[in-house]
């Protein structure tokens, strides 16, 4: 039972982070290597909100998440917008630069010290015993529920509006997308905003559960393969990818050797990808048609 709980919590964490990669990749074929840092910035925003105001915890978290959405939009407006139409590679590198910038800024603004926003918010995190005897901390439960809600919302948004298709169209051929009346700027801004928002929610919940320092960015990077195995432009894929990787990790830790938990998931990912080269649900990007 505990095993299942562990898997679900880890999978939810990965999934919540990974959907940020998917959103941005989908609209622009850009791998956002600053996702981990943006997620970290979201969590640090909570630190500031918590220390600067006496808001109730839920409001503070909401405010920080909303701010992070703004951060994402700003990143697009001031940065990525200028790279519209440039090769994806240049944009990827720009995100590397952004990541470095953010890591520097975080140390500058918040210092490299470990932070505990839960404490300053006075948020308790008691474990809850589930029916099967497994235990889960309140915040982990919140994380699982949030992931569910975020995915539900995104699915609905992308399915019932045409935005899902337009995002993929913009990713494949921005010029043609614009010529078909799609507002590239708007769609990119939405993607960046949402991506930073979901990433930050993950960052905030992790920080509340177990503290925050600059290694948070690395956690973000760990979720990249998860998005990859599912297919870089598929949300369903990242959900499933998260489940696969989380299961592999937890089972390895439990029954084999915890040391392998860093390595073996990659081999599993590779096996999955060899069977389905564009990820489980990803769309084939290079067609062999001549």
């Amino acid at each position: 039972m505990q095993l299942a709980v562990n898997i679900v919590v880890l999978a939810a964490t990965y999934a919540l982070i990974a959907c940020g990669y998917v959103l941005i990749y989908r609209v622009s074929r850009v791998l956002n290597l600053a996702h981990g840092e943006l997620m970290m910035v979201g969590a640090y925003l909570l630190v500031t909100v918590a220390s600067a105001s006496a808001l109730p915890p839920l409001l503070a978290v909401g405010l920080a998440a909303a701010l992070s959405l703004g951060v994402g939009v700003l990143v697009h407006l001031f940065l990525m917008r200028r790279l519209t139409g440039q090769p994806a590679l240049a944009a990827v590198l720009t995100t590397i630069g952004l990541g470095i910038l953010l890591r520097g800024l975080v140390v500058l603004l918040w210092s490299a010290e470990q932070q505990h926003p839960a404490q300053s918010l006075g948020l308790a995190n008691p474990p809850i015993t589930l029916f099967g005897g497994g235990r889960i901390s309140t915040l982990s439960l919140a994380l699982v529920l949030t992931t569910g809600a975020v995915y539900g919302g995104l699915f609905a948004f992308l399915r019932f509006s045409r935005w899902g298709i337009r995002m993929r169209a913009a990713g494949q051929n921005p010029l043609l997308a614009a010529q078909r009346g799609i507002n590239l700027n708007g769609i990119y801004a939405v993607a960046w905003g949402l991506s930073t928002f979901t990433g930050s929610v993950a960052g905030i919940l992790i920080a509340l559960d177990s503290g925050l320092d600059t290694t948070m960015a690395t956690i973000g990077l760990k979720a990249f393969p998860v998005a990859l195995v599912g297919g870089l432009d598929s949300l369903l894929g990242s959900l499933l990818g998260a489940l696969i990787v989380a299961t592999a990790e937890v089972v390895l830790i439990q029954y084999v050797d915890p040391l392998l938990s860093d390595v073996v998931p990659f081999l599993i990912l590779m096996a999955v990808l060899l069977a389905r080269p564009w990820g489980l649900f990803g769309s084939r990007e290079e067609l062999d048609r001549v």
Binding site: I165, R168, A178, G181, I182, L184, L287
Partner: protein
């Protein structure tokens, strides 16, 4: 006071990569409901003209460096492509004309139809499938897997869905079977009169283009070399010979070799 023409280009210049000048000042007018053809040899700047009208997004590092493009009197050369499309000026590009990883249906769904309700949208989609039954059959296959001609149909269909007032078509007959070219020509004429559409057409087959169009421009090296009503140009043997490679009524066999030595220069 008379209403301004649908589209005017005044001394439009375009430069690629900050140094390659592709257009040296083009003047061109399209009146509402008119079909206008642009002719010219390869590299004359036909595609560039259409792309300038439909707007750049920094790809190819192309830039409108001079002149003015007006749509009903409003300057549009600085507008982003999606706003130009929403004004009703829609391009069918020469290459990369579909989203290869989207299915045919998704390609159509991706189109933003400015100010058209769901019902209207559905009607237009229906229209596209009616015009191009082959697309209906391939509705759920990825556009990248379509044959060359099917892609062309899809591109025209998607453009029609945008609800155009002015359709810019680059290389209409490219890769299309004769029967389809003929049909498409007829269809466009019908659509034109039904919807009051204007069409700006780039076409290699001068005969076909001049037969379709009301008015035509011949480009050479980024400049307008000749312009006039299509019938006049079609009758002008000098123009036929110098710019379009063949004189009207003349039917020379390809076996007879070339009209001039050392081509392609």
């Amino acid at each position: 006071m008379i209403a301004p023409p649908l589209l005017t280009l005044e001394a439009v210049g375009v430069t690629y990569q900050r140094s390659i000048v592709a257009l040296h000042g083009i003047d061109l007018t399209v009146q509402a409901g008119q079909i206008v053809a642009i002719l010219g040899v390869n590299g004359a700047g036909k595609t560039t003209t259409l792309r300038a009208i439909s707007g750049f997004v920094g790809l190819d590092q192309a830039r409108v460096t001079g002149g003015c493009i007006r749509h009903r009197g409003t300057a549009i050369e600085t507008l982003p492509p999606h706003l130009i499309t929403r004004r009703g000026i829609v391009l069918v590009p020469e290459r990369d004309k579909v989203f290869p990883n989207l299915t045919v249906a998704e390609n159509l769904a991706a189109v933003v139809t400015a100010a058209a309700g769901t019902a209207e949208r559905r009607r237009r989609e229906q229209l596209v499938y009616e015009h191009f039954p082959r697309l209906a059959a391939r509705r759920s296959s990825e556009a990248g897997l379509l044959s060359g001609g099917e892609r062309q149909m899809l591109a025209v269909g998607a453009a029609l869905l945008c609800g155009p007032e002015l359709l810019l078509i680059d290389e209409l007959s490219l890769g299309l079977a004769p029967i389809i070219v003929g049909e498409l020509g007829e269809r466009l004429k019908t659509i034109r009169s039904e919807l009051g559409l204007a069409i700006l057409l780039v076409e290699q087959s001068a005969a076909f283009a001049l037969q379709m169009a009301d008015h035509a421009y011949v480009l050479e090296n980024g400049r307008v070399a000749a312009a006039g009503p299509a019938a006049t140009l079609a009758a002008d043997t000098d123009i036929q010979r110098y710019y379009l490679g063949t004189a009207a009524g003349e039917r020379r066999s390809y076996r007879d070799g070339r009209t001039r030595p050392g081509a392609c220069q």
